[in-house]
Every structure is written in C-alpha cells, then in structure tokens.
C-alpha cells in the first residue's frame, strides 16, 4: 500500500494535496484496493460549495458504493475531466491521474485545514483497520 509522505489524509481514505490556497482531492491506494474496480464516480461540479465532512459525491465499484466526503471547506474550481470516461484511473493511479477535484480553500492563510492526518497518522490508521 502506497502512502505518499507529502500528502494529507482523512479517516474516510481520501488524500489532499495542498498548494497555496488550493487543495486537490482523491482517494487513497488503500481505498481503491478495498473498493475494487471503480466503474463510476460522481464528483461535485465546478462552482459547488463543499464543507469538510459532508458528502459531496459517490464512488461506484463492482462490489460496492461509497460516499465521497469533502475533506475541506471551500469552492470546487476544477474537476478531473478524464474520470468520467475512465474511472479506472482511480485504480491505476490514485495519487496522480486519478485525482478527483480541486477546491479553493475558504481559509487561505496557508495553514493545514483542521482534521487532516499526516501520512504517518494515516498509515497507523489503516494498520489498525487490518487488525
């Protein structure tokens, strides 16, 4: 299982990449492995207001459906245009080509939004899951 050190994570198995006042969001390698083949993703459209911890979409895989939760507060500025045609990108490249959407953060002070986990904390959490 891959957990890149430069990203932040949520207990709902999403990752967040911070760049200035923008956050990019996707699902983790652990999540895509647990889900199996992703067949459809519903992502909030650009312009949608999202709130940390609130459902903002869903991920359909062969065996299950899961809610997507926004990890941050802000406004969606961009969605990955490739995902609709090729949802398998979430499986093949969850931290790269499988990114889902970008958010302009409400709090643009450059601080890490509350509630996010470091890679070490997230790794510990997924280990607990498996025990």
């Amino acid at each position: 299982m891959t957990v890149p050190g430069e990203l932040y994570y949520t207990p709902e198995h999403e990752w967040v990449a911070l760049s200035g006042s923008t956050a990019s969001v996707g699902i983790t390698d652990h999540a895509q492995k647990a889900l199996g083949d992703v067949v459809f993703v519903s992502i909030p459209a650009a312009g949608t207001r999202v709130t940390s911890g609130e459902p903002c979409g869903e991920v359909e895989s062969t065996k299950s459906v899961s809610d997507l939760y926004s990890p941050v507060d802000g406004e969606v500025t961009e969605v990955n245009p490739e995902i609709d045609d090729d949802p398998g990108l979430l499986n093949s490249d969850p931290y790269g080509a499988g990114w889902l959407f970008r958010v302009q953060l409400d709090d643009a002070e450059g601080e890490v939004p509350p509630g996010l986990l470091s890679s070490a904390e997230y790794t510990a959490l997924t280990k607990e899951d498996q025990e």
Partner: protein, 391 residues
C-alpha cells in the same frame, strides 16, 4: 470515503488463531499471488487477485481458475441413500443415473428454501451433496435428521475435499491433456472419478459462471499441486486465477440465483421461478411437500425479474424497485455488468408490475425505476439470463 456496502478486506491472524476465518488448502497460494482476501462465510477466501473485471472477462473469453474449497460436501451412502435423499430434497435423486448430477434444493417443512444444492450420484448407493458454505452446518443437520429413518449414513466431508473450478470457453482444451477422462464424453452435469494431473479426483462438468467448465474435487494435500499444474497448462490459453468478486458478477449475468439474495428461508423455489426443481409427484413424499403443493396452486405474490439500467449508478441488494414512483419490489442482486456494460439487477416485483412493465402497450406512462440512494434511476425489464454463452 466510507465503504458502505462491501465487506472490508478480512483481517486475518497470521498465527492461525482459531478465532479467525478458516483457511482452505489453497489459501497460501492466494497469499503468494497477492490476492485480496476476505472472510466469506467463515472462510478466508480470495475476493480478487487484481482487477475483478479482468478476471470476469477472462472467464468469458478464455478461462478462470477458482478455489471453491469453502463449499460444504456431504456424502450420503447406503442401500437407502437414494430413498433418504428423495425424502430430504425437493428433487428426485433416485432417478439420477450414476455419474450424473442435478441442481436441487432442500426445503423446510413450510416450503422455505434451506439451501440450493448440487447432488452427484457417484454410484448406485453413493451420493455427494454440495452445499453453500454459509448453510453447510444447517444442511448437514437436516440431512442427518431426515436420513435417520433410512438405511443411509450422512458424513460431512467438507474437510476431505479441495474444490477447484476451471471455467470458461478454453476450459476443456486446457484440462484435456491433464486428465484420463475423455472430456467429449463428459456431458454438462456429469461427474465421476478421474485422474487429473495423475491425482485421483472427482471431475464434474458443472459451474456457476454461465460458461462451459469443470469442477475438480480432490484431496486437500493435492490441491496446491493441481492448482499449479492447471495454471501452467492454461497459461498459454489466457487462464487466470479468479476470485469471488468475479464469480458473483459471472453468476449474476448468467441469471443464476445466490442463496441469501434470490433464495432465502422465507421464499420457496416457486418464488424464484425454479419450480422445476420441485418434484411434487415423486413417490413417498418429502419434507416440505404439502406446503410446496399449496404454494404451487396459489397466485404468486412476487416474481423474480431481470433489470437493466441506463444510468451508471448501480442498483444493489435491498434497493427498492419503483413503479410509477411507488414501491413495487426489491433488488436482490445488482452489479455493473462487465459484459453488457450497464448495471444489471435481479429483483422481486409484484407480478402485475412485471406483466405491465414487460408489455410495451400495457405500461401507459408508468415508469419502472430503482431507487438508487434517494434518486430514481429508470430501469428496463429484460429476459434473463442477461448473458447466454454462444452455442
């Protein structure tokens, strides 16, 4: 993201502590192959090895190798074995010729389905019953109780068999060089002793995928060897190991019921459209006969139907079927169909809804839909199976 509808990959204890799920004779092989393992009916089973869609497609176009060693096996032997099974099951095993098999069910006295089974007649006085893993203890107890008045012995042989299935259009070509059996002579639903890769096995032309294929019952200590021999023999033919996730979408496309979904203790075989497995007229009577005879005469209150959706949102077990916006039934199984490319589902609906929805003139403006997490997704009623293999 919260996983709301699937079992999490099963935690297992490497020390083999008794609290964890049971391992099959092939679990170590699956671990070496990097499978996602899950606790399925108390067994640590491979859910997928890589992409379950790729595994599904391999079975449709080439072949897949499955570990089914979790299935329950019961030997019923003795001069009264055939009579005992005629009494215990809905079908008529006494009418089977040795070397033949039949899909059948075991009903409770009220007609409810305890399990669906395959019964193999291995010899005049020797039968093998294959039960779903989750139901094996209940089936074993029912068989033993029902056989008590007959000259027949019931033995749980689950631990004596590894069960490997090879399924798909290339199965026969892959298996033929490895077995003493003349596969051209092994008909669908035949099963008898044969050598496979030099080991003693029971070889049957049965399966749960909608494809041609074979199931190989072998000694547990031979399982790893047979798996390796089959894998090697099939490598050039596109044979891949396939997990339970692919098995579920394969059987769903083939319109085959799954116990716990389409079949339950609250339903009879007639509900599932499988009245053909009930032999009301066999001599001697059987457990559940009176209830099933009544049920056969009644107007059905539900009908099992196939649905396809145009949306990419997937109907799942337990979702409500809507007719004109009102609840009209419930989805029993649903998945994105790799072969059809759209979501498919089996559902129980009211018979009048099934009739109206399948009649283009009778439906008027009413719309058939599935409530997919709060939003109705239009559905089309289709004939099952969703997939039929090319002749």
């Amino acid at each position: 993201m919260t996983d709301s509808a699937t079992a999490a990959p099963g935690g297992h204890d490497a020390s083999g502590a008794p609290a964890g799920p049971r391992r099959t004779p092939l679990t170590s092989v699956h671990e070496r192959l990097g499978a996602s393992l899950t606790d399925f009916a108390g067994w640590l089973m491979p859910l997928r090895y890589g992409s379950e869609t790729a595994e599904h497609n391999a079975v449709r176009t080439a072949a897949g190798l499955f570990d089914l060693s979790h299935m329950g096996e019961f030997a019923v032997t003795g001069d009264g074995a055939a009579a005992a099974l005629d009494y215990a099951l809905t079908g008529e095993p006494s009418a089977l010729k040795p070397g033949r098999a039949r899909y059948t069910m075991i009903s409770a006295p009220d007609g409810g389905v305890i399990d669906d089974l395959i019964v193999y007649r291995l010899a005049e006085h020797e039968f093998l019953i294959v039960a779903n893993a989750a139901n094996a203890p209940v089936v074993g107890a029912a068989l033993a109780g029902r056989a008590a008045g007959f000259d027949a012995a019931v033995r749980d042989r689950t631990d004596d068999y590894a069960l490997i299935a090879i399924q798909g259009p290339r199965s026969a070509a892959i298996l033929a060089p490895l077995t003493s059996a003349d596969l051209a002579e092994v008909r669908y639903y035949a099963g008898y002793p044969a050598k496979v890769a030099g080991r003693d096995a029971l070889l049957a032309r049965t399966g749960y995928t909608g494809e041609d294929g074979f199931e190989i019952f072998a000694a547990p200590q031979d399982a790893e060897y047979l798996w390796a021999e089959l894998s090697e023999a099939g490598a050039g033919d596109g044979l891949v190991p396939a997990g339970l996730a692919a098995r579920d979408t394969l059987r769903l496309e083939a319109g085959m019921p799954l116990y716990g979904n389409e079949l339950t203790a609250d339903l009879t075989p007639y509900d599932a459209g499988l009245g053909r497995v009930v032999r009301l007229d066999k001599p001697g009577g059987f457990v559940g006969r009176d209830s099933l005879a009544r049920r056969a005469q009644e107007t059905p209150v539900r009908q099992l139907v196939g649905l396809t959706l145009q949306s990419r949102r997937v109907p799942r077990h337990g979702y409500t079927v809507l007719w004109d916006g009102e609840p009209a039934g419930v989805v029993t199984s649903g998945a994105p169909s790799p072969t059809l490319g759209v979501p498919i589902a089996m559902a129980y609906v009211r018979p009048e809804v099934a009739a109206a929805a399948s009649d283009p003139d009778g439906a008027g403006t009413a719309v058939l839909a599935v409530d997919v997490r709060g939003r109705p997704e239009p559905a089309t009623l289709v004939e099952m199976p969703f997939y039929r293999r090319p002749a």
